[in-house]
Amino acid sequence: MKYQYRDREMGERILQKIGDLDLELTLMHVCGTHQDTLIRHGLQGLLADVGVDIRQGPGCPVCVTTPKEIEESLLLAKNGKTILVFGDMLKVPGASSSLSQAKTEGCDVRVVYGVDDGVRIARGIDNDCVFMSIGFETTTPSSAAALKAKTPDNFYVLTCNRLVPPALKAIVQMGEIRLDGLIEPGHVSTIIGSEPYRFISEEYGIPQVIAGFEPLDLLMGVYMLAKQKMKGESKVEIEYTRAVREEGNPKAVEVMDSVFEPTDVKWRGFPVIPDSGQELREEYGSKNARLVFEDILAELEGREFPEPEGCLCGEVLRGIVTSDECPLFGTACTPESPVGPCMVSAEGSCNIVYKYGKMG
């Protein structure tokens, strides 16, 4: 049973069925773990052989965090605050440097696995601690739960949280890429369920399947999308039924919504996307690093933070180029010496493609 979702015979059968439909499809997923499964198991290439091209969209919370947000954390670090951050964020270059660089220069930057680690660190020291709260709907409820459960007075949050459905809407509206279907992220969907995606199928006629992360999950997800396409349907289906319910996790959503509220925010590679960010509600203002440390952060206001020169992370995040099409890929930009975030994060498309040495 353990490896049932990696059964080769079943995988070949699904690929055959997709091939039998004789369609040319361009699909997008928005999840680093999906990208890992696609590349690690060679599915990208196998699917290309049956006419399916899959792009990773803006599905990497670290990658879509903007240089400005990184600069905010750097400025707070340089002003003596302890920065608590997920390990994936450390080496991502901002406009001036990275948190990893700041750490080597003596700033107090500490890696945490989750928000509760950060709270524990804050309890143990007197210094002001700022948790860089990065993540989609999968992660934001944990930040919310920690804040609701009480945090020490020296614990603050720099919110970089984002919502997936508004970004999908932005991708569709930008129209840069033909999309025959969307593979929706399984773990985001454990929280939000299927309803928040429905408007994309109804208003834009795009089939969607919420898929799990094993090879057969993804192949089946693609087949379900191909079948919708063939039948001329567009709806949201759930392949990952063992973890995703239509209603999601209402308890987690309630906690998240009681602490955070949607706000307009820029994503790396995108313009400002309406209601796609998550900011702390007014009653949590005393925890909001942007309000509490407004004076320190004021110097960033009005400044422009350009993308690194030659970096195509924005295009990769919009699905219009693949990682290996970027001229910097594997030459000027490697995991050891990254130019853009997609090469840094273990969920970034470039990092994953570099790691496995192939696109499919």
Partner: protein, 81 residues
């Protein structure tokens, strides 16, 4: 296991609930037992949950898990319907 400890952002891993004490539970990742916050789910000892960044974000449906391949076969058999 190393993946769990490195803290990838959206990675989430199934684990079995061993003991619950308030909002915190001991959860078993196939032999390695760690603490996780279970305040976002309704769960009980013996159930499987998905852990992300130290929090259980959803319970796993054992019946659905066992029947997934059966569902796949049905969908495949249905392809020319």
């Amino acid at each position: 296991m190393s993946l769990i400890l490195f803290g990838l952002m959206c990675l989430a891993v199934p684990a079995k609930v061993v003991r619950i004490k308030g909002d915190v539970a001991e959860v078993d990742f196939g032999g390695v037992v760690k603490e996780a916050n279970v305040s976002l789910v309704d769960t009980k000892v013996g159930e499987y949950v998905i852990i992300h960044a130290g929090y259980a974000i959803q319970t796993l449906d054992k019946k659905e898990a066992e029947e997934t391949l059966e569902m796949f076969r049905e969908i495949l058999g249905d392809s020319h319907a």
